[in-house]
C-alpha cells in the first residue's frame, strides 16, 4: 500500500502541479484581482465589487456584450442551419462522401490568425471582394469592410462562421449516422418525403447533437479573440471587439488590470451560467 502511495504521488505530481499553478490558481487570482483598482505599477486599491458595478454601467462593456451576442446570434441563425443542411445532404450522399467530409473540415485546423489575415487581404478596400462585386455588377454593394463601423462587426463575424462550420457538420453528421436504419426504412416504406423525414424524425433524434452544437457555438464565441484582433484589433473603437478583446485591451493597453480581471470573471461566469442553464433546459426537453 505504501509503495502505491509513492507511485501515485510521483505519477500525479507533474500534471497536478502545472495544472494547479497555471489553471486553478489564476482562476482564483482573477477573482481576487477583480476586487482592486490596479495599474500594476503602483498601488492596488481595494474596491470590492465596485468594478462589477462599473461594468454594469459601462457603455463600452455593453457594446462588447452586444458584439459578442451578435456573433452568437448570427452563428446560431446562419452557421447552424447551414451546417445542418450540409450534413443532411452529405448523409444522403454516397459518392464522394469521404472527400467532401475531408474538405469541409480543412478550415477548422488552420490557425485563426491565418484565416483572419487571408480575409484582411480579401476585404481590402481596393481588393478582391470589392473587385468581385464590381465584376458582377454589384458595385453599389462595395464597402470599406474593415473600417466602416457599420459593417465591420459582420465582416469579422463571417470568417469565424466560415471556418468552424466544419465542426458542426461533423458532429451533426455523426449523429445522423447513429440513427438506427430501421426507423428510416419504415418511414420510407410509409411513404414519407425527405422533408418530413428530416423534420419529424431526424431532428428530434439528433437533438442531443444540436445541443452540443449550440453549447459549442456559444462557448466558442465567448472565447473568440484571434479573429477580431488580427483583422481590426477590435476597432474602429470597439465596434468589432468581443469580450475577450475588450479584456485584453483594458488590461494590457489601458493598464487597468483590476477592471480587466473583472471582465475576465464575467466571461467565465457567463460561460458557466449558460452551460448549466442550457443543460437543464435541454435535458428537460429530451424527457418531454
Amino acid at each position: 500500500m505504501k509503495r502505491n502511495i509513492r507511485f501515485i504521488l510521483i505519477f500525479t505530481a507533474p500534471a497536478f502541479v502545472i495544472y494547479t499553478l497555471i489553471i486553478i490558481y489564476p482562476t482564483v487570482a482573477c477573482g481576487y484581482f477583480s476586487l482592486f483598482n490596479w495599474d500594476a505599477a503602483s498601488r492596488m486599491d481595494l474596491v470590492w465589487l465596485h468594478n462589477y458595478l462599473s461594468l454594469f454601467r459601462d457603455p463600452e462593456y455593453r457594446q462588447v456584450i452586444y458584439n459578442t451576442a451578435m456573433l452568437i446570434v448570427e452563428s446560431l441563425a446562419i452557421q447552424l442551419p447551414f451546417s445542418a443542411l450540409i450534413s443532411f445532404l452529405l448523409f444522403r450522399t454516397v459518392r464522394g462522401f469521404k472527400l467532401f467530409r475531408a474538405v469541409y473540415f480543412i478550415p477548422v485546423v488552420i490557425a485563426p490568425i491565418a484565416i483572419g489575415t487571408m480575409f484582411v487581404i480579401f476585404y481590402n478596400t481596393d481588393g478582391p471582394l470589392n473587385t468581385l462585386l464590381k465584376v458582377f455588377g454589384l458595385g453599389a454593394l462595395q464597402q470599406r469592410w474593415l473600417s466602416d463601423p457599420k459593417v465591420v462587426l459582420h465582416s469579422v463575424i463571417f470568417p469565424q462562421m466560415w471556418q468552424y462550420a466544419g465542426v458542426l457538420i461533423m458532429i451533426l453528421l455523426a449523429a445522423l449516422q447513429s440513427v438506427p436504419g430501421e426507423i428510416l426504412e419504415s418511414a420510407l416504406i410509409d411513404g414519407a418525403g425527405s422533408l418530413a423525414i428530416y423534420f419529424r424524425i431526424l431532428i428530434p433524434m439528433t437533438w442531443e447533437a444540436f445541443s452540443i452544437c449550440i453549447i459549442l457555438t456559444v462557448t466558442g464565441s465567448l472565447r473568440s479573440f484571434d479573429h477580431p484582433w488580427i483583422m481590426t484589433m477590435g476597432g474602429p473603437g470597439l465596434s468589432s471587439a468581443y469580450l475577450t478583446v475588450f479584456m485584453a485591451r483594458t488590461a494590457f493597453m489601458d493598464y487597468r488590470y483590476g477592471y480587466g480581471s473583472a471582465i475576465g470573471i464575467s466571461i467565465i461566469a457567463i460561460s458557466l451560467l449558460f452551460v448549466v442553464m442550457f443543460r437543464k433546459f435541454a435535458s428537460g426537453r429530451m424527457q418531454a
Binding site: 507533474p14 495544472y19 464522394g96 490568425i113 489575415t117 487581404i121 479584456m247 488590461a251
Partner: protein
C-alpha cells in the same frame, strides 16, 4: 408522363441539386486557400490588378524572402520547438495521471478536478497568468510559454487518454504484476503502447492548439527571436502590408505543417476535435 416518370425526374433533380450544393460549398471551402497560394506567387501589388487569375510570373522568390529576410525561419523554428516540446511534456504528464486515475486510484474527485480546465475559457485567464509568469520571472521565456501550453492541454489530453486506457483489459495488469513487473515499467512498456490511439489523438490536438495559438504567444513573448509563427504572421501583416505576395507566402508557410498533419492524421484530428467539443 406517367407518375413513375415524374417521380424519377423529381428524384434526379433532387440529386442534382444536392450535389450542386455540396460541390459549390466544397469549392468555397478550398478556394480561399488556393487563392492565397496563388497570391503568394504574385508580385507585391499584383493582387489588386490581377486578383483571381494565375500569377503573371511565378515569383517563388517570395517564399525565400519571407523565410530569410522576414525571419519566418526563426518564427517557424520556435513554433516547432514550442509545439513539440509542449506536446511531449503534456502527453507524458497526462498519460501518467490518466494511468493513476484509471487503474491505480480511481478517484472521481481528482478526475473532476482535472476536468475543470475544459470548462474554463483559458483566454479569460490571460491577466492572472500574465501576472504569475511575471512574478516567477518566466515572462518572455520559452519555458514559460511551453508551461502554459502544457497546462492548457492537460485537461483534454487526460480526458482522451484515460478514455483509451479504460479499454485496456485489467487482466493484463494482474498478469504483469504476478510476473514481478513494477507499476512504472508496466506503464511505459505495456500501457502506453496499448493506448496508442489516445496518445495519438491527444498529440495531434495539442500540436494543433500550440501551433495555431496566437493570444498567449502574443501576450507572453516579446523578444523577436523567441516569437512564434502566429506572431510572425501578424508581424508580416504589419511590416509588409504593401507586399501581399510576400505576406501570403508567409501565410502559406505557416499553414503547411498543419495541412500536412491533417492529411496524415485526419482521423485523429476529427475524433479529437469533436470529442473535445462534446465534453466542453
Amino acid at each position: 408522363m406517367t407518375r413513375m416518370e415524374t417521380l424519377s425526374i423529381q428524384r434526379s433533380a433532387a440529386r442534382f441539386l444536392r450535389y450542386a450544393i455540396l460541390i459549390v460549398y466544397a469549392v468555397t471551402t478550398i478556394a480561399p486557400f488556393v487563392w492565397i497560394f496563388l497570391t503568394s506567387l504574385k508580385g507585391a501589388t499584383e493582387v489588386y490588378v490581377n486578383s483571381f487569375g494565375l500569377p503573371r510570373a511565378w515569383k517563388f522568390i517570395n517564399f525565400s524572402t519571407a523565410w530569410s529576410k522576414a525571419r519566418v525561419s526563426v518564427y517557424f523554428g520556435n513554433s516547432l520547438l514550442y509545439s513539440f516540446g509542449s506536446l511531449f511534456m503534456c502527453l507524458l504528464f497526462a498519460g501518467m495521471v490518466s494511468y493513476v486515475l484509471t487503474r491505480v486510484w480511481r478517484n472521481l474527485a481528482l478526475f473532476s478536478y482535472f476536468m475543470i480546465g475544459i470548462m474554463v475559457p483559458i483566454q479569460a485567464l490571460l491577466i492572472p497568468t500574465f501576472m504569475l509568469m511575471k512574478n516567477i520571472g518566466l515572462l518572455n521565456t520559452r519555458i514559460g510559454l511551453m508551461a502554459i501550453y502544457v497546462a492548457a492541454n492537460l485537461s483534454l489530453s487526460i480526458f482522451i487518454i484515460s478514455g483509451f486506457m479504460r479499454g485496456v483489459p485489467i487482466e493484463l495488469e494482474d498478469a504483469a504484476f504476478v510476473d514481478g513487473c513494477s507499476r512504472a515499467r508496466f506503464f511505459f512498456t505495456i500501457m502506453v503502447p496499448l493506448s496508442k490511439g489516445g496518445f495519438a489523438t491527444a498529440a495531434v490536438l495539442t500540436f494543433l492548439n500550440c501551433w495555431n495559438d496566437f493570444v498567449f504567444a502574443y501576450i507572453f513573448i516579446s523578444p523577436m527571436n523567441l516569437k512564434t509563427i502566429s506572431q510572425g504572421v501578424m508581424i508580416l501583416k504589419g511590416e509588409y502590408i504593401t507586399d501581399f505576395g510576400l505576406l501570403s507566402s508567409g501565410l502559406v508557410i505557416s499553414i503547411i505543417p498543419v495541412f500536412i498533419m491533417y492529411i496524415l492524421f485526419q482521423e485523429q484530428v476529427v475524433t479529437g476535435l469533436t470529442a473535445g467539443a462534446i465534453k466542453g
